[in-house]
Amino acid sequence: MATLLQHLPALLVAVPLFAAFTLPLVGRTGAPARTAWVFLGALLTAATGLLLAWQVFAHGPLLYVFGAAAPHVPTPMDSGGIPIRIIFQIDALGALMVVIASLSSLAIILYSLASDSRHSGKDSFYSLLFLLVAGVLGMVSTGDLFNFFVFLEISSLSGAALVAYRVDKGQAVEAGLKYALLSTVGALAFLVAVGLLFAQYNALNIAVVASRLQFTPLDQIALVLLAIPLAMKCGAVPMHFWTPDAYSTAPSSITAFLVVSSQASLYGLFRILFSLYGHLLEFSWLTFGWFLIILGVLSMFIGVTMAIPQKDVKRLMAYHAVSQTGYMLLGVGVGLAVLGNAEALTAYGRTAMAGGLFHILNHAMYKGLLFLTAGAIFFRTGTRNLNKLGGLGHHMPWTMVFFMIGALAIAGIPPFNGFASKFLIYESVFRFSPFLSIIAMLVSILTLASFVKVFHAMFMGAARTEFAQVREVPIPMIAGMAILAAVVIVTGLMPRPFIDHMILPAVNALVDRADYIAAILGGH
């Protein structure tokens, strides 16, 4: 047992990879065996992730050196004090992302067991899904720049293949191609930056590079080449144009996980800005903080205004996802802007960052839930067009309840979790700049208006004759949605323990850059 615990970080990616590659073999023995294998794989992946995160929150950051005799010792005795192997470094921020990915992977895999039961090609579908999960989990746990690139590519490739999976007269393939093309160009730019950093500092480990960084002109080019692709992958305006296409054409369970994969890129962006470059931006924290804030405000506002006129319910939700990402950028951006000002940082900077990071968790849960309800409606009615839907409250009461929970959470209505994180953002951003806080509230009101319209169009009204045959969705789909809804309600009713034990340690992990480096190189 102790050995197993010691190797948890390796298992975190090994379990989903093993599930992915054995699935086509198990699938040959029949559908029940495959379903059992998928279920087992999802359960084990989530259990590994949650156990690992619990270890981090209880005992502090975890290190894992791949292929070393002692996996907790980052620098071997004979290496001259530098790490020579690939290292997983999971601090509180990484653990927070692992929790998000574990919970939502479990929920969406449960859901997809029923929602994709009518389609063919299930072996490769679930293989790709497990690869996507492994990619996201790897991205948020690795402490190595090149390794991050590899996991980024694993998640982009499997994500693009899954977006295109249900060809849908070519539209899904069109969206998948767009997603793959942008991801690959972004990842290649990222690789150029990794090359530039390696050429100067002879290291790939994030902590080692961070300790040697001089902020030469090449480093500045590298910063741009690292930050822009990650901002694009998390769907920030003005690089959001792939999101509505990919999110609306992918199968709903996949869309719910693409949200998490976007947020893994957001994690990468924060890691680069704070842990890798944090100390060197000293003279320009305000500039880089405002860079995130402006991205955030643009995303919030343009996202929501583009969402309002949409007729396709998943496209509408995709624009709302862009808009909600803006809140996270705004919260963390305010924190970055006041990083040099210790007084402002304690007064409201940390709270703003806590709001931003808490919103990542909350967003993954309620947005996943909303995409799953849209998928449930598509599953029974065969349309995503709001003008053709109506009166479904009579037929699908559970889906309606779950949709209401998700919609109220995204609009920031108490007692759901969206309120808990948005309130932290409002109150702290107000002390930084009242104007930004007012924009954030205005966007919330527009979000509420938009979801009231959607709710009305889908569920209200008299029962329609064309939907007379429509029934509630099967149990696994309800179970998947129920997991996410339960998290939305629990984190909404009792945000305090979550903020104290998960979010604030994650904020400290970002702010205290020296700890991140000391974990690898020792000393302060």
């Binding site: 060809v167 393939v173 690959t184 790939l204 054409t249």
Partner: protein
């Protein structure tokens, strides 16, 4: 002269990156866009290998090497191999997407592949 020769690979990298990006931005044929992407990819691989080059360096294998001999960097070569494998997978997947699009739409001209606007 040697300095010029040593910087030549980096000039080639820049040129290839811009040719690749240019093809992706200005060509309308999907296949040509993917060719541009492939050029970009090769440029990045060339950059990585060029970073590891040392003048008069030998292969980084520790047997039978006289002391104080320069070796080329092995790490970037390992990175390049990984990047090549990833690149092949990406390109194969995108070409198969292009095939499906041609089958469904009857064209690979991106001006006509626009069902998703809005």
């Amino acid at each position: 002269m040697t300095a010029f020769l040593l910087s030549l690979p980096f000039v080639a990298v820049l040129a290839l990156i811009f040719i690749g990006l240019g093809a992706m931005l200005f060509k309308r044929n999907l296949i040509k866009i993917l060719m541009g992407l492939s050029l970009f990819e090769s440029a990045v691989n060339l950059l990585l290998v060029a970073i590891g080059y040392r003048q008069d360096g030998v292969a980084p294998i520790f047997t039978h090497v006289p002391p104080h001999t320069h070796m080329v960097l092995p790490t970037v070569q390992a990175l390049t191999l990984t990047a090549i494998v990833i690149g092949v997978a990406t390109l194969a997947m995108m070409l198969s997407f292009a095939m499906i699009i041609y089958r469904k739409y009857g064209t690979v001209d991106i001006r006509n592949i626009r069902k998703l606007n809005g």
